[in-house]
Symmetry: C2
Subunit: 214 residues, 2 copies
């Protein structure tokens, strides 16, 4: 089979339920990675997933709802939360996972779509808010364990930790340029650990939702 053949040439029936759900979300991420948000249609996603578009519309009211779900699901799966036994190790793992995702073809494409469209589209802002909300919530046990071990002060905020960790990595990627590698991840982890230990990561991070353009 030719690699270049379009998804429309070969619809694969995926049935109903969780399998269909996963196939549609995966197809959405693939479409987003290929053409960005502007080019994404429910029709194309349905073709790629091998389902009828009415099946998609039955579960998601529009492409925005689909994209929000797909990105949240994709990032939750691709950036797992570690449990290394120390907050230093956990932060390093989290930073490395983020770098690994950002340099992957899908990560690059999804990030580009999120960043470039974010300013204009409320649904992209919603996806972003949902993704960060998920990341923040998933970091809670990491921070709770560190506090319980006495490594971090009581009152350390998981969302502030995640933001502090992600900031130097995105700064390298989007602003200063230079290699996106383990050195950046390591430095992000060191900065975040120092800040958390000093008790300055005590205030919840703010993320713009669809109605809050900042």
């Amino acid at each position: 089979m030719e690699l270049g053949s379009t998804p429309a040439d070969r619809p694969r029936p995926v049935g109903r339920g969780p399998k269909m759900h996963a196939a549609v979300l995966a197809a959405t991420v693939a479409e987003l990675a290929e053409g960005g948000y502007a080019a994404l249609t429910v029709e194309r996603v349905a073709q790629r997933a091998g389902v009828h578009k009415t099946t998609v519309y039955r579960r998601w009211k529009d492409r925005a709802a689909l994209v929000v779900d797909a990105l949240a699901e994709h990032i939750a799966t691709d950036i797992p939360m570690p449990d290394t036994g120390s907050i230093g190790g956990d932060l390093r793992e989290m930073a490395r996972s983020l770098v690994g995702w950002l340099v992957s073809p899908t990560g690059r494409a999804v990030e580009a779509a999120l960043i470039s469209d974010a300013v204009r589209l409320p649904e992209i802002a919603e996806a972003r808010a949902r993704i960060f909300g998920d990341r923040f919530r998933r970091a809670e046990p990491v921070v709770a364990r560190a506090v319980a071990r006495g490594e971090l002060p009581v009152g350390t905020d998981p969302s502030a930790v995640v933001s502090a960790l992600a900031a130097p990595i995105h700064f390298r990627l989007l602003v200063s340029g230079g290699p996106l590698d383990d050195t950046v991840a390591e430095q992000a982890a060191r900065i975040t650990l120092a800040a958390a230990r000093a008790g300055v990561l005590d205030t919840p991070a703010r993320v713009a939702g669809p109605v809050d353009k900042g």
Copy 2:
């Protein structure tokens, strides 16, 4: 006079030397802010500055050289380095200046031009490397004074300090969204101070130049 009249309608002679130099650089920033790098031409800059384009070409070999100079000059002027007497105060002032610049119309436009075009154009990467080089160099006295006062460990690297300070602010602007205000500046200063005191800002920050795409 109509606000909408084009710069071409009213060329103002600016003479030669430093005055011409400043007028051309200011016109370059204004053109960049209006239309981005893609739309910028030496002709339009010359018209706006009220000089002949041969005058511009005599000093700058092409629009890339012009943009590199203009941005470096503009940012050096608009984001001054403070001397408040303490590193905490200096970091807070630097963070506030950066936020103030990023929310200004020119800052927004220039930043958008730098970020969006940065991936593709080597001359933009050069401008970026030059701007960061300037910022890093200008932060040297701030860090040197803090080390001399015993506030920061010997070996604290000014470029690492500037990067750590700028990262949370750009993260808010470009990734997480939400208000870009004094609260963000304050939090960036606190994180940077904690990291610098802990001795983790000891490694020079890397910035991609025109031949280093990272």
